[in-house]
């Protein structure tokens, strides 16, 4: 294999690894721009992965699996909203609690229903999202440079991958070109301005959490019935946190969110590739270094070395009408 082929293969794997990050980071984008910190993304992703696997296993239909994943994720969003919007609880505490609930509940229910140590049953092929070969992929394969790129990176992914990339311009459009988006961005900066304009702060924030739950449902579904064929214990493995890091790294903007997720996906793919290989001069590099890079980059950003990251001003603060 020459270097170009290796690069193409890493790139293809980078795209696949970045999809759950992308869905989750976009989910975080909607809730955090509305002023609700969403550390519970990890838990939502995990719970929806479990729900999607269960539903797909029982019905043998991937789309029902997706609906199940989205439903459970939105339900988690409502719990977060009830704690942090309606009852003005601490958003971080509520999010962390949801993560624990998801981690525990998936294992308990999985063991009760499938008796495979927390795994779900193997989802049949028709219950999964399989890869789609785009027209002309085989014909194009021999065209230099563009051919392999088209055949191995752009083609051959499952439908959720294309939906993920489609969600980027849609998110941008919703945030910057619709009334809902204008109000959502406003409520994350100054809920008082929204309230005095005669708009309900609570309902607006609930709606943003529903959107976040919807997007996060895709991420979980992708993990369990597109990337694999069953739910495995803790299969989100910290991806929710990496997605949050990507969101911060992208300064809470949709297109940079996509680029950050691709970068973090690429680092992950590169780490997998480097496993057990030695680099000239340095020798074998521990994979942990690559795995830590997204967090290190985010810390560097937050420390102010790469411009300034300005989070939504009202983020994390429950809204109380002034007296």
């Amino acid at each position: 294999m020459d270097y170009f082929d290796i690069f193409i293969s890493i790139l293809g794997s980078a795209v696949r690894l970045s999809i759950p990050l992308l869905f989750t980071a976009l989910a975080g984008l909607f809730s955090e721009r509305a002023g609700i910190f969403d550390i519970g993304l990890e838990g939502k992703m995990l719970a929806s992965a479990f729900a999607a696997a269960c539903v797909a296993y029982w019905t043998g239909n991937a789309w029902f699996g997706l609906l199940g994943g989205i439903g459970v994720s939105i339900a988690f969003s409502f719990v977060h909203g009830f704690a942090s919007i309606t009852n003005r609880g601490n958003q971080i505490v509520s999010g962390v609690a949801l993560n624990f609930v998801a981690a525990g509940l998936t294992i308990v229910l999985g063991q009760a229903w499938f008796r495979q140590g927390g795994r779900t049953g193997q989802v049949p092929p028709e219950g999964r999202f399989s890869s789609i070969v785009l027209p002309g992929a085989d014909m194009m394969r021999d065209v230099p440079i563009i051919g392999p790129l088209y055949a191995n990176v752009i083609s051959g992914n499952n439908i959720l991958t294309y939906i993920a990339f489609l969600m980027v311009p849609i998110s941008w459009w919703v945030l910057y070109r619709t009334r809902f988006g204008l109000r959502l961005r406003a409520v994350g900066e100054n809920p008082g301005a929204v309230d005095t304009a005669g708009i309900s702060v609570a309902w607006l924030r609930y709606r943003s959490l529903i959107v976040a739950g919807f997007l996060c449902g895709f991420a979980g579904t992708y993990l369990s019935i597109a990337q694999s064929a069953a739910f495995i214990n803790n299969m989100s493995a910290g991806k929710g946190y990496i997605a949050l890091a990507a969101l911060i790294f992208a300064k809470w903007k949709p297109v940079p969110v996509m680029l950050a997720c691709l970068l973090f996906g690429f680092l992950d793919a590169f780490a997998n590739f480097m496993q057990g290989k030695s680099m000239p001069l340095i020798g074998e590099v521990p994979v942990q270094i690559f795995q830590a890079l997204p967090y290190i980059l985010t810390c560097v950003l937050l420390a102010g070395f790469i411009g300034t990251a300005r989070p939504p001003k009202a983020g994390g603060v429950p809204y109380t009408k002034e007296r």
């Binding site: 009334r179 988006g181 406003a186 900066e189 929204v194 309230d195 005669g198 708009i199």
Partner: protein
Amino acid sequence: MSLDSPKEPAIELVGIDKKFGTVHANKNINLTVAKGSIHGIIGENGAGKSTLMSILYGFYQADHGEIRISGKPVTIRDSQAAIAAGIGMVHQHFMLVENFTVLENVMLGAEGGQLLAKGVASARKELKRLEDDYGLEVDPDAVIEELPVGSQQRVEILKALYRGAEILILDEPTGVLTPPEADHLFKVLRVLRDQGKTIILITHKLREIMAITDTVSVMRRGEMVATRKTAETTVEELAELMVGRRVLLRVEKGAANPGAVLMSVRNLTVKDSRGVTMVDNVSFDVRAGEIVGIAGVAGNGQSELLEAIAGIRKPSSGEILIGGKPAAGIDPAGLRDLGLAHIPEDRHHMGLVLKFEEYENSILGYHRDPRYGRGPLLDLDAMRKDAEEKIGKYDIRPPNPRLRTANFSGGNQQKIVVAREIERDPKMLIIGQPTRGVDIGAIEFIHKRIIEMRDAGKAVLLVSVELDEIRSLSDRILVMFAGKIVGEKSSEAGEQTLGLMMAGIAA
């Protein structure tokens, strides 16, 4: 033609009553405001002005009473209903999204459809019209955080007009403005009135009432105690109505008798946490027996200057001499030992721990004093006895040292801080905003104490954004603008002169 007659009421409040638990915030309020007039509402803090306006804007529901707009009874359940009834509100703390443009802020809540594109075009046209009609010029594409405060306020007014407001309520609108900006605001308000809008102005500044309103109502302890035609009343009468007794508006003080220099600041430069220079190469002296006032619009470096002298913020260069000794870098406790007392600008964040009981706050910072304890233990009896003495001497109400500090009114909280710092008999006193959020009666009291300190030969440095306060207390006035001292004037300097200096226009 009776519709255009100025006698027609725009708003009538009939028997408005509101209780919060045991607090009777509004007692049977009746108020009529004529269409096309500017009506002032004054009253001390806690008199019920804000509650009344919140009821009018739909933040609260009245327990009893009726609101009539142009003669018709209306129910105002929320802000949406208030907007629909033609009421617009300019809040004391602007309700603007700082990283949005002017246009986006004006549109928010009145976008004219699910998609923004169409609304943007019509909003732009409407803004242009409002600008032409009322002289409210603002660049619609400017981002709010880059605009000066005066322009931000104009955006708030535009927001209300854009929604078709016929009645504008302004809550303490000049608190954050420079005097020229305030003049500009008044000009705009007069134009609005002349075009038939009705304006309600809530303020505690009597001079503003006299300058701009047609009629004025006075509130005291939840009641509407009087309504006057502005032309037929005086500042003295209004002040008396507000407080319920005669008050001295102008502090009486003799000539200063300055002695030795007790406090010196030399080439002091202070940066804030972002590294922005807030105090820029400032030098001045304060002598024993004089009050030096620092005038300036909030945010021009006065706070940082005070904090540097008080030992809270480390200066990046320059010298501070306290009683002739270099004091930069000494912590607040060390400075207290040198005879410096500090009444901080913000009593809630720096002066008091609101959850503490009164007697705990009344020794805060002096808890190591052997009078209040031995070794690591506090002598609670001594502390309470000491607190009771101060309560008596400063007329702090309610006179209960075991009450939580948060349950005292603003004026009484400030008295707790003032008593604590002055009763230590310091040689030097630095004071920030001595009467912010304090009612007139307590203002008079605190001002007298400050003058007494001066007459007892103490050096007093006073920072205040209230120009009247600076002018009536100070023996010398330094004006700060953009971190620099742009000039020194005697206390006789006119308000206009000082106002221009504060705006950085003249030196």
